[in-house]
């Protein structure tokens, strides 16, 4: 509607670039914002600053080599990415990996999830302005990284899975350290909540901000905590169990509000569930081999294979189209990050710049995962 009072003040919409070098974009993501004062009119993500064409590289690499490329996608859930590729190869070759492998994969996968959520919690706090959370979160994440380093040899890009099992057995200290970590971390999650969740400023910054309706969540293809914050059942571990997830009891973390606070709660709840999964498995790691021998050159039978796993960010899909040679004909990663990023415009439009930062933090963007 035309304003009734005629004004000589000319107002203009403002275009600003948030990123590619910006503290809130967690990497090299560029957000093109159209703003009117503090209010966001439109958000357009500009991607590709670290696109490495992993899918093209997969077409020239052998299946063993593809595994380590996935470390570099969502580097915070690298183990789960590796697992996805191994599972799809095993599915195609009809290999049944030993129980021990499944259980160890599940434990390390859940530890990865906790580590990822830890980092998210720290960064979330930092994005809304509480810098101290970052250090508390990293203190706990460091313990998980130490467990990984002792067993896998690397802290982040572990490449511990190979098609057919694990590269080598777990370290003798693994069980002990993991139990120590669980005991330690159980005392820390309540502290996380005391520091941030209850805080009235944090509540104001997150409650009712960036509300995603369940219908939109599904239509935008959101998955993981973003969709579960809106009450969509989408946990692949429940729907299509893989590895040892059918052996354990856990609850799918669900919240129905769909706002930033709901997504926060989902992740905190998920950390508790992950702890419970690890606790159920850690004392019952079956004895046995840690790998099934595969041929040095793996050739998948002709056909199409699809494997879905639940990373810390949501559903990762691996689509393989094989023509029977040693390289895949087409290898497609359905990364959770790209689909989750799709919701940002509808969530942020109409809110303030500060809200956009909180929304981006709760979507938990990892740019290499979006760009691949």
């Amino acid at each position: 509607m035309e304003p009734t009072v005629k004004s000589n003040i000319k107002t203009e919409e403002y275009f600003i670039n948030m990123g590619p070098q910006h503290p809130a974009t967690h990497g090299v993501l560029r957000m093109m914002l159209t703003i009117d004062g503090e209010i966001i009119k439109n958000v357009e993500p500009d991607l590709g600053y670290i696109h490495r064409s992993i899918e093209k590289m997969c077409e020239r690499d052998s299946y063993q080599q593809i595994v380590h490329l996935t470390d570099r996608m969502d580097y915070l859930s690298s183990h789960i990415n590796n697992e996805a590729v191994c599972l799809v190869v095993e599915k195609a070759l009809e290999i049944d990996v030993p129980e021990r492998v499944k259980v160890i994969r599940t434990i390390i996968g859940e530890l990865t999830r906790i580590a990822s959520h830890c980092l998210w919690w720290g960064v979330m706090g930092m994005d809304v302005g509480a810098l101290t959370t970052y250090f508390y979160a990293f203190r706990d994440r460091e313990l998980i990284n130490d467990i990984f380093e002792e067993t896998c040899g690397a802290r982040l890009t572990m490449n511990y899975n190979i098609p057919g099992g694990l590269m080598f057995d777990i370290h003798p200290n693994f069980v002990k350290r993991t139990k120590e970590f669980i005991a330690h971390f159980k005392t820390k999650i309540p502290e996380y909540d005391r520091l941030l969740k209850g805080n009235v400023i944090f509540q104001k910054r997150t409650k009712g901000i960036g509300v995603l309706s369940p219908e939109d969540a599904i239509s935008f293809g959101a998955s993981g905590p973003v969709a579960r914050g809106s009450g969509v059942n989408c946990d692949i571990r429940k729907i299509h169990p893989y590895s040892a997830y059918d052996l354990v009891k856990f609850e799918e973390a669900l919240q129905t509000d769909g706002d930033c606070l709901a997504r926060y709660k989902v992740r905190i709840q998920e950390m508790w569930q992950s702890l419970s999964i690890i606790e159920q498995l850690i004392d019952n790691i079956p004895e046995g081999d840690t790998k099934v021998a595969t041929k040095a050159v793996i050739k998948l039978p002709k056909g199409e294979y699809y494997q879905r796993v639940e990373t810390a960010r949501g559903e990762l899909g691996c689509y393989v189209n094989s023509t029977g040679t040693k390289n895949p004909y087409r290898f497609k990663f359905r990364s959770p990050g790209l689909s989750n990023l799709g919701v940002i415009n509808s969530l942020a439009t109409g809110s303030k710049i500060g809200d956009l930062v909180a929304i981006m933090a709760t979507i938990d963007i990892v740019v290499p995962d979006i760009d691949r």
Partner: protein, 348 residues
Amino acid sequence: MIETIHNWLYSIMPEGAASITEMVLIATAYLALFAIAGLYLVYLERKVAAWFQLRLGPNRVGPFGMFQTMADALKLVSKELTSNDRIDKLLYNLAPYFVIVTALIALAVLPFSEQLQAFDINIGVFFLLAVSSMGVIGILLGGWASNNKYALIGAMRSGIQTISYELSVGLSLLTMVLLTGSLQLSEIIEVQRTGGWLILQGHIPAVIAFMIFMIAGTAETNRAPFDLVEAESELGAGFHTEYSGMKFAYFFLAEFINMFIIASIAVVVFFGGWLSPFGITDDITWFPQMLWFLIKVLGIIFLMMWFRWTFPRLRVDQLLTLEWKYLLPINLVNIVIMAIVIWLNLTL
């Protein structure tokens, strides 16, 4: 010693020139002292932040890293002053001086002890408020002149923030002025010598006034949780994005000196200035009164640092909600209650 310099100066030059020289000397000494004090506040902030965050803090330069901030300042002095070429040159260069000068002017009236007060005027509180709110002009100039969108958003935020919170700072101090009956800082402290600290004397309204003053004061200095002006996760560096080297250092130092000033006002008005608690050191003549003042100020500063390293940042509209819907009405009611308390001479 001061006496000897005084006499010597008057002996070698005419009276007028000597008096001016003396003023310049005192001012130089004062400013140098506060530049260094400001640097140590930065050091303190870094150490305190580190201890809140399970870190060690600066510990390489000098014992316990004491000279770290000195080294940083030297580095900043020696750095090239860069800027983009579409700035408004005059305003851009003026802004940091505006900020630092207004911060330093306020120091003139602070009563460090009974003797050590450079300028004891009868409208001390009023003067402090007026001067400390002038710094925002520098921030606005800096943000505008930088020709940077982030800087402009930061500057505009600063404008609305300071204008709003100025009211609360003023009204909360006014509540206490009702109790003292004077705006002169030395007088305010004298009142507390007999009646005890004002925060204890004025009872509940005084406590509320103190809380409001702390919140509004933190907002006045643009510190977290009200650091919207330079909210780094939203605006990068906010209004000083385009500043580098010493010009940046002025903004940085001004923030810490402002924090010192706000803490000093709180100490003078609520905690009895340089008076010792319950007069425990009143009989010890050699005990420096200034020490009590500094201890109290550091206590308040620590509280402000504690806020900063614990709380998330408010959003800009919530900042205004807090001021106009909560602090201001409470403040007005508080003044009325205080007036009634004094009128009826009640002790609540």
